[in-house]
Symmetry: C2
Subunit: 141 residues, 2 copies
Amino acid sequence: MTGILLITHQGLGESLVECVRHVMGNVPDNLKVLSVMADEDTQRKEKEGRALIAQMDSGAGVLILADMFGATPSNIARRLRQPGHVEVVAGVNLPMLLRAVCYREQPLAELVQKALQGGRECIVLMGKEDDSNVATGCADN
Amino acid sequence: MTGILLITHQGLGESLVECVRHVMGNVPDNLKVLSVMADEDTQRKEKEGRALIAQMDSGAGVLILADMFGATPSNIARRLRQPGHVEVVAGVNLPMLLRAVCYREQPLAELVQKALQGGRECIVLMGKEDDSNVATGCADN
């Protein structure tokens, strides 16, 4: 089963995991957070990230979800990337995370696509005229 | 100036605001959070939301950013919607929030589009081959 590692500014990853707990009733073992504080030693964080990945990787690889491309957490995530085995999607939102958790038994390449789609499709302007489409887009959350 | 109101599961909105503080160095006055705990009285929350909107609305309206379409916070947000004056975008991520904060002096209709674009465009698979495009997509964060 693919591991899912959130790498975010401090607090955000933990909050997202609490939302998973609320929505799904529990937090899967293979969902972890690497939280990055302001002015933290990024090399130390990278080392912590490698240790977490080694611990989570059952052979199926790890999907890293970072909060924002170009920020420190995503720069750390980029250095942890192993093409085809540890992939990084930036711009995580709650629908993306839930989609990834729901499909974590799929191969990493497919899980990456599910995460990208889940995140993008569930960014919607709410209004009576949109809701039938939106419900379809987000149905598997 | 348009107000920005995050309506999320407890903890997530506050964490996103802390990320804004970290990235931008401060939190604008017209950015607020309505945090929804599990099993909270949604009618009371809706009332709190109306009070917050009244407080934040300088005439330019309010953009509500909810964490996930179909979840309780977005259902509360839907009931606070006033088409053209209080609009709701669901699926908030950090790039969307930062984009909205940066463009909050624009009219609400344009701010809605900036938020949708910012959120969607900055959901990216990280890899050497993508980064030049991504940097453009997220350049104004």
